[in-house]
Amino acid sequence: MRNVFIVAKRELAAYFATPVASVFIVIFLVLQGALTFNLGGFFDRGQADLNPFFTFIPWVFLLLVPAITMRLWAEERRLGTIELLLTLPITQLQAVVGKFLAAWAFCAIALALTFPFVITVNILGNPDNGVIASGYVGSLLVAGAFLSVGSALSALTKNQVIAFVLAVAVCFVFAVASYPVVTDFLSRNTPVLADIARRIAVIDRFQDFTRGVVSLRDLIFFATFIGFWLFLNAVIIEQRKAD
């Protein structure tokens, strides 16, 4: 566990040592704000909740989370530092989890900086802060799910652009898996897959959280999802660390 935190701390510091951190946070806040106010009609709705905010956040994450994860392993490969990291006395899994936690902590920081939304609705009305809190928990879990996908795919290549594009594509599949466009197609051809697609859809699970429902089933889903991708990440590193 100690090694996990040492790796995570170094990785988190690396985000802030380069302009990556400030650029990401600024773009995230501007994009999320613009979508919430303009497309979401935050003020016009006249309701004291953060629904417009939470409607857009998975899509903003879909675009921006792969930008955080693309460097995690691809950069190590390109610089050759992967050879250094993996010949230190740590296990692959410790390195994988450490990097993931750093990226997750970074997302949590970006998410925490959206606090003015919470203050605004509380000044303008009497929102249900429990629902808002569960929405934030859900957002963080969606970020974690996308991060685990992006991290594993970043381990496949030394090219950050490829890592980014792959991650956006795969995250998109998991985001829209329960949408009629996917499930209708699947139920016509392979009904079994349609059922699976509905169960693995990240956005569906997230919507429970935005309604204020934090269920054990959803928590287990996210934990399993993240665990699976991190395990896959460790396997990829083990199998092709030197390539």
Partner: protein, 247 residues
């Protein structure tokens, strides 16, 4: 030919690495005892770095085993890597970190606590003369300094086994001399493998030399014996003779 009475710290047995149909390292075996400095020579692409990567546990061999202090680098990797100081090819370091930050990270991963950590870093920094650049980001350093940062990282935990892939590449003549002196000074207490292109280096610091060509060992003897192989008595001529025959 490990020295008499000294424990064998590095053992490589029938190590082979194939990439598709290409055999990069072909049935390489040798062992290194404490007190030996083994010079690993060969033309570019002969399999030097591949062998060193397998020895460090970074690359998985197609067949064969490598052991460091008796620990199989694949099956018992953590124990093997604890006993190993490794300078990878090109001395990679995290460019955005400061020298001090980078060495602190490595020392923490090596498990050193506060007080010992500072001592270990101080010691490694003194050995490699990095005092003046401790607060600089690695990416702003010259090639020679970068190489020495990589070297400092490998020496932090005073490991019984050192594997250095081209430790003097990119250094100026004075720095080369210093690194060689450092290696010679550490030699009695460690088993050291260095790869190099510089043949004079072999004569200067190595107690034994292995020449590898096209993935196979073509010579394994003392530099003096090696020089005797060619009438001119020059290592350069022996090297050319041995490595062009195979290639």
């Amino acid at each position: 030919m490990p020295a008499e009475g000294e424990p064998v710290l590095i053992e490589i047995a029938a190590l082979t690495k194939r990439f598709g149909g290409f055999t990069a390292v072909d049935d390489v075996s040798f062992s290194v005892a404490r007190g030996e400095v083994l010079g690993f020579l060969g033309p570019n692409g002969a399999g030097k770095s591949t062998t060193m990567r397998m020895l460090a546990g970074f690359m998985i061999p197609t067949s064969g085993v490598a052991r460091i202090c008796g620990h199989d680098v694949q099956a018992d990797g953590i124990a093997a890597r604890r006993a190993l100081g490794f300078l990878p090819e090109g001395a990679p370091t995290y460019p955005e970190m400061t020298v001090g930050g980078f060495l602190t990270f490595c020392a923490k991963v090596r498990g050193f606590g506060r007080k010992e950590l500072a001592q270990r870093i101080d010691h490694a920094v003194t050995l490699t003369r990095l005092e003046s650049v401790m607060l600089q980001p690695v990416e702003t350093l010259s090639k020679g300094f970068k190489r020495r940062v990589g070297l400092a990282q490998a020496l932090l935990h005073d490991p019984p086994v050192l594997v250095l892939d081209e430790p003097t590449d990119g250094l100026d003549p004075n720095q080369k001399h210093e690194v060689r002196a450092l290696i010679a000074q550490m030699a009695p207490h460690k088993a050291i493998v260095i790869s190099t292109h510089i043949l004079e280096e072999v004569d200067a610091v190595c107690s034994r030399a292995i020449i590898i060509a096209a993935g196979r060992i073509v010579a394994d003897e003392t530099p003096q014996d090696l020089m005797g192989r060619h009438p001119s008595g020059r290592l350069e001529d022996v090297f050319r003779q041995l490595t062009t025959e195979v290639a």
